[in-house]
């Protein structure tokens, strides 16, 4: 058929399929690995709680039977109610306090703002139990200021509420502070030129701009109080709340299925709070203006003095709490022998071998910080700066936001169900240090993830494109450019994970073994045994460690910026 001209080869005009470079495949493979890790350490444990809540003790499916039983049990119903109103009260106290404090820091000309801010953040360094111990010392049966309660007992809602306010205050403050710092100075100048009084400016400019921050702070405060286990355990007395119920069901009665049901009841309000916050955040986007001019307050004697007085009162309260715990750890026997002594450290902790739990905590915190920072920053990098695998990306984005909405107790219980299952090949992790670190990383994933994403988004989007055009593999650019430039954020994540690993209690309380007992758990046990001195000593050790890490972080950041990051300096005038 050579005489007939062959028809020109025609190609179907189908979709062009790009040839993937192995670098792209590597990046996508790592992304899938992140998906797998999040699925195993977050999604699967949560799913197991759902499964267990619909099974009876023998593992047979009973549908919503356990929920029905729960609703008919007046004791459990009571604790749901208690949890709810206590959390609402804490929110109603904390948010106005935090807002006024933040307002003083941003809108007044009072002196020593830096010092006030520093003191306000100190509660972050301590486990929540520290506040409870301190308030027992102040207002308990033998408390120094017992009379201030007019015959009411601190063991119960009063103690829980004031301890929770102390513990959550810095978190609420940071959120509100950020929203107040976003204020646009031009709006205030415009209002001033129109002769607007201070109060009207507050209601028409300040409050509308800060409202999302206020709502966010309220949601975080509410969730924290609902989820916290350490405070009601130490100072709650016979007052029942959901977090204690879960603990009793699981550890006390070994009734895991009912524990799952209670944990879902606990999960519900937290998820609602999370969704409200998330929805509000989405609406906030349109408020930002790149051209906003920072607000600079002007001196005003009366106002500045009022704000100063307020901050002094709040900081005195905060220091009194921390100070009492530290003081308790260094005296012989409250309130009979107030002479200085190291016996709580020496006899209470070292001689009793309880100090091992402190070293376990240190070890766990280092593993959490090292492993967590690598995983979280690496995943955020792959998410933001590589291409392909759109489904995996969407999956990670979703999963990264979930931990914020999961109370530690729920996560910990899910870990028992999932990892303690005899058929699970990951069962080997159970009882080890790694599972404690894993639960802590997951528990604090969301904030760290957001820090990483924010830092990465600040980088020029075209670094990767430039590298590809120069035939430099993406991982080289990652190590040579991305990591050095993001180092401050990376250190920030490491510090955040370390400190939280030192103080965390709610997830790990279900997961520790005799070999991996942590300092925070030791505090609970010491307190239960009436050893309040050694418990205070252990709390003090944790605070000292966290403070040291913060100092090291500050020094390291300063050194980095001074030395290897000379390029951060502003351009020298040409």
């Amino acid at each position: 058929m050579s005489t007939v001209a062959a028809p020109a080869p025609s190609f179907p005009r189908g979709r062009v399929k790009p040839v993937a470079h192995w670098h792209d495949r590597l990046a996508q493979g790592l992304l899938l690995l992140s998906c797998a890790l999040l699925a195993i350490f977050l999604l699967a444990p949560l799913a197991m709680i759902l499964v267990k809540s619909t099974e009876d003790k023998s593992g047979a499916f009973v549908g919503l039977q356990l929920f029905r039983e729960y609703l008919q049990n007046p004791a459990l119903r009571d604790s749901a109610f208690n949890t709810f109103w206590v959390a609402l009260t804490v929110t109603a106290i904390t948010v106005p306090l935090a807002f006024t404090f933040a307002y003083a820091l941003t809108r007044s000309c009072m002196p020593a703002k830096g010092a006030f801010r520093l003191v306000a953040l100190t509660p972050i360094l301590s486990p929540s139990m520290l506040a409870a111990i301190s308030f027992i010392q102040w207002f308990g049966n033998q408390g120094a200021l017992k009379s201030w309660l007019f015959g009411n007992t601190v063991y119960g809602p009063i103690g829980i509420i004031i301890s929770a306010v102390y513990a959550i205050f810095p978190h609420a403050l940071m959120i509100v502070l950020t929203s107040l710092l976003l204020a646009d100075g031009r709006l205030y100048e415009a209002a001033e030129s129109l002769g607007t009084p201070r109060l009207r400016k507050f209601f028409t400019i300040t409050l509308p701009a800060a409202r999302y921050g206020i709502i966010s702070a309220a949601m975080v405060t509410f969730s924290y109080t609902v989820s916290d286990f350490g405070i009601p355990k130490v100072i709650g007395g016979n007052f029942s709340v959901l977090a204690i119920d879960i603990f009793k069901q699981v550890i006390g009665q070994q009734n895991f299925n009912r524990g799952a049901v209670v944990s879902l009841v606990l999960l519900l309000p937290v998820v609602i709070a999370f969704l409200v916050d998330w929805w509000m955040q989405g609406r906030q986007q349109s408020q930002f203006s790149a051209r906003a001019v920072p607000y600079v307050p002007k001196p005003s004697r009366g106002f500045d003095t009022t704000m100063l007085a307020f901050c002094i009162v709040v900081c005195t309260f905060l220091l009194a709490v921390l100070g009492m715990a530290v003081y308790t750890s260094f005296i012989k026997l409250w309130p009979y022998n107030l002479s200085f002594s190291l016996r709580h450290y020496v006899f209470g902790l070292v001689d009793g071998g309880v100090i091992d739990s402190y070293f376990n905590s240190l070890k766990m915190a280092f593993i959490t910080a090292a492993l967590g920072t690598t995983l979280i920053f690496g995943t955020a990098y792959l998410l933001e700066k590589t291409r392909g695998a759109p489904l995996a990306r969407a999956f990670i984005r979703l999963l990264a936001t979930i931990p914020m909405a999961v109370p530690g107790m729920v996560l910990g219980l899910g870990y028992i169900f999932f990892f303690n299952h005899p058929d699970n090949p990951l069962h080997v992790l159970y009882g080890g240090m790694l599972i404690l670190a894993a639960s802590t990383i997951v528990h604090y994933y969301t904030s760290s993830h957001l820090t990483a994403v924010t830092a990465l988004k600040a980088l020029d989007n075209e670094f990767e494109a430039v590298s590809a055009s120069l035939k430099v593999p993406f991982y080289k650019t990652f190590f040579r450019v991305t990591v050095p430039v993001c180092l401050p954020a990376i250190l920030d994540i490491a510090r955040y994970l370390f400190i939280n690993a030192m103080v965390t209690i709610s997830a790990v309380v279900f997961l520790y073994s005799p070999d991996t007992k942590l300092a925070s758990i030791a505090i609970i046990n010491l307190d239960e045994a009436g050893e309040i001195g050694p418990a205070a000593a252990m709390s003090t050790l944790i605070v000292a460690t966290s403070a040291t890490i913060c100092l090291i972080y500050a020094a390291a950041t300063r050194w980095l910026i001074g030395r290897t990051q000379a390029w951060r300096k502003p351009a020298t005038p040409a």
Binding site: R15, V16, D460, T564, W567, R568
Partner: protein, 364 residues
Amino acid sequence: MSSPVVSSDNSYLRLSGITKRFGKFTALSDIALAVERGRLMTFLGPSGCGKTTLLRIIAGLETQDEGTIVQGGRDVSRLPAMHRDYGIVFQSYALFPNLTIFANVAYGLVNRRKGYEEIRRRVAELLKLVGLPDAGPKYPGQLSGGQQQRIALARALATSPGLLLLDEPLSALDALERVRLRGEIRALQQRLGVTTIMVTHDQEEALSMADKVVVMNQGRIEQVGTPQQIYRDPASAFVADFVGKVNVLSAVAEGSGRFRVSNLVFDGAAGSAAIAPGTRVKLYLRPEDVLINGAAGSQPNTASAKVTKVEFLGAFCLVTLALVGAEDQPLVVNLSRHSTDEMNLAVGALLQVGLPADCMRLLG
């Protein structure tokens, strides 16, 4: 398998049938284009016209849904960016902030296992080429925007790529620096003879730098031509509107090449006789093509006009006129400062204007 790519012409880069959709939105539709070896082509168009997407597809940073790209006789349609041969400069410079200028320029060289001495020589040569021989030990943050963009250019050229892609390289710079750098880039491109594509939304930039301009709109090519062709002989109403200033007069054809503008009748350009009487058309005329007073008398399309506005722009003035008999369609004229001074032009003055038929374009 790829279709035969040998071509008799001198094209270095050939695009055919390039189509790109984002969901329901068609960003590029059936783009065909050839860039000649050693020439500079600009993609000009409003934001969202698809010019940057097209550049990113050529770079392999996006993948087209359909179509082929042949570069230097090699079908690169499906290749990842790493396997293509180009250097790229972005609007944001994208210099690595933590590396010195030397390390930035050497970034692509280090990876090619070249000796240190060779790299040092090449970097020095490039820094000299872009006029910043002493910048080596500095950091990007210590340079001005224009200097940073010169370094980005040096980095893109370091590996001697066959194709240079410039994505709005001058948009982030101030006006003076922009004009200076555009001359430098053009001179450098001609000296090195590197085939170059530049994306811009600035018509002045496109006209002054390019061998060929591609005007794009809504994912399609409106016109490809030399800067002169684009300006003098726009192929579409969009091009006439987008490139330069233009007067648009609504008219009705009267047959035999004559057109009625409100109550006035003008001769159209040669070749417009075929248009059926009664057809509604639009006449396009550049402000600088309108003749005034003495100059107007020598040709047939004349009219009286009244000055309604004089806008002083420094070297020249934009004068808005109302044609007597077509007051509803104001005409803008571009006059030098000297001629306005001479005529002592002010609002209310009466003029004779001429609308040369050979400068008038009829566009749909």
